[in-house]
Amino acid sequence: MKPGDGVETYGREAQPRVGFFTDTSVCIGCKACEVACKEWNLVPDDGLVWTGNSYDNSGELSANTWRHVAFIEQEAPDPLKRGKHDFRWLMESDVCKHCTHAGCLDVCPTGAIFRTEFGTVVIQDDVCNGCGYCVTACPFGVITKRELGGDGGMHKCTLCYDRLQDGMEPACAKACPTDSIQFGPLDELVERARERCGDLVEAGVSEARLYLADENDGIGGAGAFFLLLDEPEVYGLPPQPIVPTKNLGTIWGAAAVAAGALAAGVAAAFLGSGK
């Protein structure tokens, strides 16, 4: 996996890139990750709203929910089960992907968002001025503005940057009862994930697939990747995300053309007639 934009600035101080491998095939949907994250990172509760969407009352990732467990009830055969089953219940703990090419990081105008020496992407709460540009640049809809208590800042998973400083595991991965969330050096995780996915496919779970584990995808692979049992969209994930910066040249080019055209238009306005 590539190191991630910006990590080169650390020179020899750069650490091995770390991340999360979330194996949804063993997720029991307990939401320990959500709570452990909130306890450690002092993330406020997000209001009491019952959605009726299976057991998911967190709804989505946001400034106040840095881990979100999705619940999907399907009338579909469950290849993990013996015999004939026509129903399955998928659960997946979603989180910031810590993209190799991170849209939020690219567009942040204040430098509040930065790439850490561990290859992760973190918002500095003491710098962020809440401009909201990162919201539009995230292909996964991870970041939002925290409106509670007049906070006004943008928040998301830090992959427990503070804990990493002491070699501690991020709170969610530590709490996860079934090791559905695994933390570690990304290379090792990817290798482990490939093996696990291969085992599942071999065992007849043809739906098993890795998501964001390929450095040639539109975000250069992610620091947090997943083993899924269905299409990404089913979990609310984009099927082929790309970082918007990928088209930066086109965009600046179009702006230059437009600026030139504007200049030409004004010139034409003066040249049209002497008056």
Binding site: V7, C30, A36, F114, R115, E117, A175
Partner: protein
Amino acid sequence: MRPGELIGRWPLLRQVREGDAFGLGRAVQSTRTQELRPRTDAAQHVVQSICPYCAVGCGQLVYVRDGKVDQIEGDPDSPISRGRLCPKGAASKNLVTSPSREYKVKYRPPNGTEWEELELGQAMEMIADRVIETRKATWQKQGDSGAPTERTMGIAMLGGATLDNEENYLIKKLAMGLGVVQVENQARI
């Protein structure tokens, strides 16, 4: 901070100086970020505990700072839980510091419509008096069959499965001394 230093810390200049032309990494770190450590580093002491919810008995580490619980997380040394916790266990700090917790004795007199304040010491006196009075008034030397029972059927107790073993033992022992047989807990339920 002197103006010179301030300018020296200006990330725009550091972008050039520290080879972070795109401003994506090291150059944009704030001082606070550079000095960031896990807050458990500042804990005065760490105590090994056990989760208070279900009976799996997961190990917990309680970090204390300034005399307050600062963090509770799993104890990796526990062969039961290996450092893991469920959402309830993970919410233990939220439990012990919950805004819903009560810290004062509340008293409702018979037929009262509101809670009243009461000193803890006085509450203990009153409860002791109630026990003594009720016990006296309902003392039963014999059961229906005439067999000696030496007990009170006027007092009952319920609860204990959320308590410590030692507390349960002491409740039972006190109840035996008082002749209270109706001692029950959640195991019945």
